[in-house]
Subunit: 171 residues, 2 copies
């Protein structure tokens, strides 16, 4: 049996990267939105803290959701491409869409992760100084930002691939 | 007089972008490292808060310095290229260096800016709630992150240029 042409291999590798990225983003989303803690403040002994009580985590959520929608769309495009041999977007448009899309989404995911790590580091230090027991809360936030960081590595790799695919269009 | 060839124009535009990026990073650095405030805590009525008292701002500083070193190096490369017509790195290496370098630095600057904005937003809210007068301190941090954001737009544009230059190598 003849080996598949290298373009088929690269399509499958790209598809796998997109699926891994989608899965990591989904895991990051679940960890973030289920991140709650109970603290005791003044008159309210059982106050619940949600992830969206921290402004930065709302940006992290936004970056995850935009990344999820994009990687789902891209996975569908890849499956269509592998199944039919044609691209859903005709002509050079597909290369340009992939190039700018992958680039923009990789920045989005990178900034979401960085903002999440930064805010968590400083707020955790403040919570420790104030003797608030929020270790689990911030550890879950770290976990979410870490998953997002690995998703970023997938996004950055996909962005390198779609940059190297540009010559196919220019010629 | 004949117009300069388009490659000369694109080299000059690239050089200008690198110089603007370097200037913005330098301004961002100055604003960040001179960001201090005086607060009154317990026994110490005149405690000085420096920028590096916030962990995230140390990362912001690191991203600025790495960006500065890289954009200075790239400016030197561009000047050499325009002056002599040759690239300092021979062969395909220059394209690959520009491509991966621009990409990595644009992620570095983007994450520095995002981390700076996120931490500032949440810490400012906490300082306000604690009735600490740190508005000027956090406003300067915002200014530094904003300059870094504009520097990121330069870096992202340069990264698009160096991606489009890849075909010159591949062929």
């Amino acid at each position: 049996m003849a080996p598949p042409p290298s373009s088929t291999i690269s399509r499958v590798i790209t598809l796998l990267l997109k699926i891994v990225m989608f899965t990591l983003l989904l895991a990051s989303l679940v960890v973030l939105v289920t991140d709650t803690a109970t603290i005791s403040v003044d008159l309210f002994p059982d106050s619940t803290v949600h992830f969206d009580d921290i402004y930065t985590y709302r940006y992290v959520l936004a970056s995850i959701i935009i990344g999820l929608v994009y990687s789902l769309l891209q996975t569908a495009f890849s499956l269509y491409h592998i199944a039919t041999g044609n691209r859903l977007i005709a002509g050079d448009g597909a290369f340009v869409f992939d190039f700018y899309g992958d680039k923009a989404i990789s920045y989005m995911v990178a900034t979401g992760s960085a903002a999440g790590f930064g805010a968590t580091k400083d707020l955790k230090a403040l919570a420790d100084a104030a003797k608030l027991d929020l270790d689990d809360y911030f550890d879950k936030a770290y976990a979410s930002a870490s998953l997002l960081l690995i998703a970023f590595f997938c996004a950055a790799t996909l962005s390198v691939f779609s940059s190297y695919a540009l010559p196919k269009m220019v010629n």
